[in-house]
Symmetry: C2
Subunit: 355 residues, 2 copies
Amino acid sequence: MATVPLKDELDIVIPTIRNLDFLEMWRPFFEQYHLIIVQDGDPSKTIKVPDGFDYELYNRNDINKILGPRASCISFKDSACRCFGYMVSKKKYIFTIDDDCFVAKDPSGKDINALQQHIKNLLCPSTPYFFNTLYDPFRDGADFVRGYPFSLREGVSTAVSHGLWLNIPDYDAPTQLVKPLERNTRYVDTVLAIPKGTLFPMCGMNLAFDRDLIGPAMYFGLMGDGQPIGRYDDMWAGWCCKVICDHLGLGIKTGLPYIYHSKASNPFVNLKKEYNGIFWQEEIIPFFQQMNLSKESTTVQKCYVEMAKQVNEKLGKIDPYFVKLADAMVTWIEAWDELNPPTKDSAKATNAASK
Amino acid sequence: MATVPLKDELDIVIPTIRNLDFLEMWRPFFEQYHLIIVQDGDPSKTIKVPDGFDYELYNRNDINKILGPRASCISFKDSACRCFGYMVSKKKYIFTIDDDCFVAKDPSGKDINALQQHIKNLLCPSTPYFFNTLYDPFRDGADFVRGYPFSLREGVSTAVSHGLWLNIPDYDAPTQLVKPLERNTRYVDTVLAIPKGTLFPMCGMNLAFDRDLIGPAMYFGLMGDGQPIGRYDDMWAGWCCKVICDHLGLGIKTGLPYIYHSKASNPFVNLKKEYNGIFWQEEIIPFFQQMNLSKESTTVQKCYVEMAKQVNEKLGKIDPYFVKLADAMVTWIEAWDELNPPTKDSAKATNAASK
């Protein structure tokens, strides 16, 4: 069965590190891996990383130097900048986590190795074409139930593993304001494939994915400094990834592993960042629900560029921001391809995925 | 919040009772309700019901007397006959359970009141149009997460609540044969709406539904004596119900409550019953996945009759059995309407549901 991959197969991407406790707590699980830290704020400030960690750190000056004019597609002063780390990594798997997320405990009181569970999720197939009532059929002690078509039991490759949060739930500002004391204490012991055709709100706090399969679609958009919207970076990536996974026959799982989300961000600040998104998502979600990608879009890159065109044409009518975003999506793909020139292997993987 | 309904709102339908322990174990939870027992075998045999239960019992002779020639739509010598109980009930809610299903315990060791959880599921809305990563947003301590469109938070009425099984999982004969010792010990503490457009294998062992909303689609088909197929009664009902719920804007939930499934049925006998279904489902499921119901089908009955026509036309090519089944589907609706003449209230409910 699935095991934690070797160091040369996975990078951990962290948008910033505001406290040293974060890495100390994760030390037993992270120390053997390479970290990519993408500093989301003022490049003149120094991020301290405790001894013993193998890491590379990029601030805004580095991003500008590496990408040149294409650096415009990377958000500034917003954790959305983390996607630069996805681009510069050379590994097959990425695990990304926020610095206010700590090690959670399972109901028996044992520390949860989130990374290990994500890798299990990614290495097991997904079954997005029919719902299995006992959830992930590939877990120990589970299987496909009576009535599950045998032709669908092979499943498809899993591209994304979306983990959850104990303690502070990932609520929007209005819900935070209405329910300031709500805590998530329910450990739901399951992983499931999100069915084909169904969108979901992908949270970037505790997320892993297969770069070879879906990396170029994991763009976190234009958020933060100079943009009319924040806190929709991961949502944007989630909508795009889900539509592309459905089109290319790839799977997305959600559920385990849990992390412990230690503190709620300020709901008043969040409301300011979110309010445009709260309006716009009412049109964006039907747009993605109804999106059709052409048969010619057989790679993630081709899908993404086709998607950018539709964003420009259809969402551009909502606000000029989406025209700028559509341009940035294309720039992102150009930058991705520049830093990740296609190899024979990756071309093969993409072809297999698109079958 | 949701409470257990009064006696005059719910009936418990049981296909047969082969042992007295079954009702004794459920006595604290069932005694206040009315039972409808539909005897699935030889009508000359007597089913014993312990003292203190309020029940009505129908055997084959009763079914023939009540339905006349239309009794042909009710299966004989198969637990699929239970759907006759749905038809003769006059209550809003039905809970149906098999006689080898006992009271399960939650992780704290407390007896699970399955009926109460089903009613909670049915009284809370479903959210089939977008996936909520914290599962049922209406449970205590949960809500909609960031990025869930506000316009979809009202949800839709829940028509079906599908419960699960600890101990013996509901596997098909091949899986039973391959994994004779597998037991389900994982208590997954969740309920979720099955997304629109996604089919699922509905098991009749531990199932509740709102008769007013979906009753006429809860037909368990032609199984058992004289039929080329068995163990697909609940699956058939599940496919039909899901497509109709999606069309009419109703929800189906799965997950809690668990019952304890005490013994596995004989896999060799099951294989004999299932083998046609195992072949046929490979064509039946795409048929249901691609089914479109017309705008004119605004009630469950109209949907079901339209569906019967498509079954005849498209599945009739697989085997003459489906032509017979399509006829039986129409007969079932005629019988349902005869025993349940539309009232002003039910017409209103159906119109509301179809909006």
